[in-house]
Symmetry: C2
Subunit: 573 residues, 2 copies
C-alpha cells in the first residue's frame, strides 16, 4: 500500500492516512466516535424533523455519508451528517414544492441530496472550490446568525405544542401568535424544562461533575450525554404517564433495521424546481464545512484541500441520496467535539457510522414515545450558539460597506427566508464592491522631502512641481471606471493654473482593459488638444506587457517612466 499514483491519492485521501493507521490512532478515533455518536443520535432525529422529514431519515443520513467522507474527505476532524442550517434550507426547498404526501417529500429530499452531491463532486473535479470565496465572511456570518434565529423560532411550535407555518420570521411568529390559544400545557412543561435542563448541561454540568471529583474526560462525556438523558427521561415520562393522550406530540413508529436502498428522482420538472435550492445548499454546506475543517486543521498544522473537500462532501450527499437520507455537510459543533475528543483520522467518522447503524438496528423501538418537544429543545439549545451579532458591531466600526452586507443578509434572511437571504447577500456584497471600484480614489501626490517617495498632497507635507500634476489612480482601470478617470482628469486640468504635464502614477493599477485603454487614448488626445502632455509612471509588468500590444504607447504625447521619481527628475530638469 505504498506507491499509489498521485492522481489516485488526490481523489482518495484515505490512501494517505490508512497505511500509517495503528492501534493508538484506532483507540483515539474510537473514543471520539463514541462521544460523537451519543451527540448525534438525538441531533440526527431532531434535524430530520427540522427539515420536515421522518426522524429515521436523520439516522440514515448519518451512516453511509460518514463512510463516504472517510474515504474521500481530507479533513481529519470533520464530522459529516445532518446539520441545522442545511436542514432548514432543505425544509425551505421542499416547502416550495407544495407536496402533500410523505413519500413524495422523502423522494424530493433524496433527490435534493443527489443533486447537491453531483454538483459538489463536479465542482471538485473541475476545481471550482474558489467560487466559494465570493461568499464574503460578513455574508456567511450574517446568514448563519439569521438562520439560527429562524431555526430556533421555527421550533417554538413544538415547545408550545401548536401548528405554525412559513419560512420567514414574520410568518413563523405571526402564525405562532395566532395559535397561542391552542397551546398544550404538558408539551409546554416538557419543552421548557428540557430546554432549561439542556442550557444547564451546557453551562453548569461539567463544572459540577468536576466538583464531584470526576476526571475531566468523564465529566466531558457526562455533559455530552445530557441530550441523551433528556431523550430518555422525557420518553419514559410520556410512556409512564400516557402523555401522548394529553396532547404531547411524539415521534411515533420509527422503522427498525438497515437504511433502505433508495433512488433519487430523475424527473426534469423536479430537477428544475430544485435546481436553485441545490446550488444554494451545496455552496452553503461547502463553505460552512470548509471553514470549520480549515480552522481545525490549522490547529494541528495540517492542510485540507478545498477542491477535494468538494468531492468528499459530494460523495457523502450521493451516499445520503441512495440510502434514504437527505442533504448533509460538515457540522460546526460536532466537528469541534470530534476534534476535542481526540479524533486522529477520518476513520472516527466511519466508527460513528457504526454507532448510528447500531442505533438504527436496535434503539428505534425505544423512540416511539419520544416527545417532539424534546427534540425541539435539543435544536434550540444547539442553534442559539450560532447566533452572534458581534460581527454587526465589528463591521460598523471597521467599514460601513461590510456592515451593509451583513445587516442586509440578516434582515433579508429573516424577512424573506434562507434562499433569498443568502442570494441577496452575495449579490449585495459583490455589487457594493463593484460600486466602490467604479468610483476609485484618486490622490494628487508630491515628493516626500529627503526621499524618493510620493504621497497625497492633502495628507503629507510634500513638494510639487509647478505646471505638473501627478495623479495616483487607486484602482485597476476597467470598464466600470474607465469614463470616471477620463472625466476626473479632464475636470482636474481645467480648473487650475495652466499645466504642461499630467503624470498618471500607475502603482495601484493592476489591469487596464480594452474599455479603459480607449478612455486613456481619448484622454491623451483631449490633453494633446489642450497642449498638455500625458505621462505614465510605475506601470507594472503585466499592465505594460498589454499596453505594448496596442497603439497607445506610440500615440502617447509623454513618456512612461519606471518610477515616479524618474518622472519627477525628468520633468523638473
Amino acid at each position: 500500500m505504498t506507491n499509489f499514483p498521485k492522481a489516485l491519492k488526490r481523489y482518495l485521501p484515505i490512501l494517505t492516512w490508512s497505511r500509517d493507521y495503528n492501534r493508538d490512532a484506532f483507540i483515539s478515533d474510537a473514543v471520539a466516535a463514541v462521544i460523537v455518536t451519543i451527540m448525534l443520535i438525538p441531533q440526527s432525529l431532531a434535524y430530520a424533523l427540522l427539515a420536515g422529514l421522518p426522524a429515521e431519515m436523520g439516522l440514515y443520513a448519518s451512516i453511509l455519508p460518514l463512510v463516504a467522507y472517510a474515504v474521500f474527505g481530507t479533513s481529519r476532524a470533520l464530522a459529516v451528517g445532518p446539520v441545522a442550517v442545511v436542514s432548514l434550507m432543505t425544509a425551505a426547498a421542499i416547502g416550495n414544492l407544495g407536496l402533500t404526501d410523505a413519500a413524495s417529500v422523502a423522494l424530493a429530499a433524496g433527490t435534493l441530496a443527489f443533486m447537491s452531491g453531483a454538483l459538489l463532486t463536479v465542482m471538485g473535479v473541475m476545481r471550482l472550490g474558489f467560487l466559494a470565496n465570493f461568499l464574503s465572511h460578513p455574508v456567511i456570518a450574517g446568514f448563519i446568525t439569521a438562520s439560527g434565529l429562524l431555526i430556533a423560532t421555527s421550533q417554538l411550535k413544538h415547545i408550545f405544542g401548536v401548528e405554525t407555518h412559513g419560512h420567514t420570521l414574520p410568518q413563523i411568529l405571526g402564525s405562532l401568535l395566532s395559535h397561542l390559544g391552542d397551546v398544550s400545557l404538558p408539551t409546554l412543561v416538557i419543552g421548557v424544562s428540557t430546554t432549561a435542563f439542556l442550557f444547564w448541561v451546557r453551562k453548569g454540568l461539567k463544572p459540577m461533575l468536576l466538583g464531584f471529583g470526576l476526571k475531566p474526560r468523564l465529566a466531558d462525556l457526562g455533559a455530552k450525554a445530557g441530550p441523551v438523558a433528556a431523550v430518555a427521561v422525557t420518553t419514559l415520562a410520556v410512556w409512564g404517564l400516557g402523555l401522548q393522550n394529553w396532547g404531547v406530540k411524539i415521534v411515533g413508529a420509527v422503522p427498525q433495521g438497515l437504511p433502505p436502498l433508495t433512488m433519487p428522482s430523475f424527473s426534469p420538472s423536479l430537477w428544475s424546481d430544485l435546481f436553485v435550492s441545490a446550488v444554494l445548499i451545496s455552496v452553503i454546506g461547502f463553505v460552512e464545512s470548509v471553514s470549520v475543517a480549515q480552522t481545525l486543521a490549522a490547529k494541528k498544522r495540517q492542510r485540507i484541500e478545498p477542491d477535494q473537500e468538494l468531492i468528499g462532501l459530494g460523495t457523502s450527499n450521493i451516499a445520503a441520496a441512495v440510502t434514504g437520507g437527505y442533504p448533509v455537510t460538515g457540522g460546526f459543533a460536532r466537528s469541534v467535539v470530534n476534534f476535542d475528543a481526540g479524533a486522529e483520522t477520518p476513520a472516527a467518522g466511519a466508527f460513528t457510522a457504526i454507532g448510528i447503524l447500531l442505533a438504527a438496528l436496535l434503539l428505534t423501538p425505544l423512540l416511539y414515545f419520544l416527545p417532539k418537544a424534546t427534540l425541539a429543545a435539543t435544536i434550540i439549545v444547539a442553534v442559539l450558539s450560532l447566533v452572534d451579532f458581534s460581527l454587526l458591531k465589528r463591521a460598523w466600526g471597521y467599514s460601513k460597506v461590510d456592515f451593509a452586507a451583513v445587516a442586509a443578509t440578516i434582515l433579508l434572511t429573516l424577512g424573506f427566508g434562507v434562499e433569498i437571504g443568502v442570494s441577496a447577500g452575495v449579490l449585495i456584497s459583490i455589487a457594493l464592491h463593484l460600486y466602490a471600484t467604479s468610483r476609485p480614489h484618486v490622490a494628487e501626490v508630491g515628493l516626500v522631502p529627503n526621499s524618493q517617495h510620493f504621497r497625497n498632497i492633502h495628507r503629507h507635507a510634500v513638494e510639487t512641481l509647478p505646471h505638473v500634476v501627478t495623479l495616483r489612480v487607486d484602482e485597476s482601470l476597467y470598464f466600470a471606471n474607465a469614463r470616471f478617470l477620463e472625466d476626473y482628469v479632464s475636470a482636474r486640468v481645467v480648473c487650475d493654473e495652466p499645466l504642461s504635464d499630467v503624470i498618471l502614477m500607475f502603482s495601484a493599477v493592476n489591469e487596464v482593459d480594452l474599455s479603459a485603454l480607449e478612455s486613456l487614448e481619448a484622454l491623451n488626445l483631449k490633453l494633446k488638444d489642450m497642449g498638455i502632455r500625458l505621462h505614465l509612471s510605475e506601470v507594472k509588468g503585466p499592465v505594460m506587457d498589454r499596453l505594448k500590444r496596442s497603439h497607445f504607447l506610440a500615440d502617447l504625447t509623454g513618456h512612461v517612466y519606471l518610477s515616479q521619481y524618474d518622472a519627477w527628475i525628468a520633468l523638473k530638469g
Copy 2:
C-alpha cells in the same frame, strides 16, 4: 430670462441655450431639421414595421418625443426617435407576450415606452447614470454588431416576400429557408433593386453629384434623399402596375392626422411581463444615445450631463407613450447627420418634429401602395453599417478576457436573442473581472540599484535581502481573494530558506475589507508561530485609516513603513 435657480436649469437645459437663441442658430437648425426629416420619414415607418407595429406608430414616435428631448436633453446634436436596435428589442419584448390582436400589441408597445421612460427619468433624478458604465465597451459593440446582423436577417422576409418567425439567427434563417419555395418574384425584384440602389446612393451618388458640379451641401442633400426617392419610385411602380395583386405586400392604409392621445396600460401582470425588457431597452437606449452624444459634444468642446440625459430620454419615451408611439432613443446615424448638417441646438429636433407632423397630416395617403420590401431595404442598408467585427480582432490582440466578452455577447445575441445576449454579456464581463481579481498577481520585489524603487525580481535586475521576502500584492484585498493571499504567503514562506521577515508592499492595495482583515490577522498569527515577522509598507491613506480602527495594527508582529525603501533600510540594518 437670466436668473433661473440652478436646480431649474439642471432639469430644464432648454433654459441654458434658449436665451441666446438667434437668427443664425435658427437657420442652421432649420436646415439640419429638413435633412433629418427627409431621412426620418422612411426610417420611422421602417423601424415601426421592424418592431412589429403599424407604420404610423413610427411617425408618432418622431413628433412629441423630439420636442420633449429639446426641452429636457443636454446634447445639441442628438436626434431622438425610433432606432433600429431598440425597435428590434421592442419586437422581442412584445413577441414574448404572445399577443394576437393589433390593439393589444400597440398598447403593449406604448406601455413599454412608458415604463422605459419612467425608469430612465427616475434613474436620472436619482443620478444613477453611472450604472451604464457596467456595460463594457466590448459588450456594447458586440451587442450592436449582432443586433445589426439579426435585424438585417429579419428583413430578408420582406425582400423575399415570405413569412418568417423567431428572434434568433437560427430561427430566422431556418424559417426563411423552409419558406423559400413561397418566394414572390415581383417582391424580390423590388427588394433587391432597392437595396442595390440604396447601397449605390451611399457609396456612389454623392461623388457623382459632385462630379455634375453640384455644391457639396446640395450633393449631400441629394444623397440623403435617396431613400425618399426609392419610396416614391417603388410606390408609384406598385400603384401603376397593380403589383399588390401579384403578391407584393404594401403598407396599406395609414391614418391621416395628428398623433392620437393614448394611455399606457397599468395592468400589474403586463408590467411584470415587460419589466425586464423595459430595463434592458432603457439601458441599451441610454448607452447608445449617450455614447453618440458624448462623441459629438467632444467635437465642439461641449459637455453633456449623463444624468440629465436620462431625464431627456425618459421624458421622450413618456411623450411617445402618450401620443401613440413606442420606445425611442438617440440614433447614431441620424445624430451624425444632424451634427454634420449644422444643428446648433436641440431646437433642430423640435423643427424635425414639425416636419414629421406635416408628413403625418399630409403625406400618409400617399403611403398606401408603399411596398414593405422598400422599407426592408432601407433598414438593411442602414443597419449593415452597425455591423463591425474589427473589435473582435482588436480585443484578441489586446486581451483574451475582452475578446471572450465580445465573442460571447455576439454569439449569445445571435443564438438566443437580444435580451439574453446583452444580459449575458454584462454578467460575463463582470464575472471575468471578478475572477481576475480573485486570483491577483503577486510579485516578489527587490531594490532597483541606485534608486529607492522596487521591482519584480523576475523582470528586473534587483537587490534582495537574505531572510527577508517582500511581496507586492497587485490587487485590492477583499472577500474574493482574502484566502488566496493567505494561502499564497503561507506557501511562499515554507518552501525556501529560513526567513525572519515578510513585507507586504501595499502600493496596489486600494481596499482591505473585513474578510481580508481577518485573513491578514490569521496570516500574522500563522507567521508568528513560525517565528516570522509580518510588515506592511506603502499603505495608502484610506486603507490605513481603516486599519487603525481595528486591532490588527496592535497585534502586528512587525511595523508599517511609509515607503518600501524605509522598510528595506530598517530591516537591512
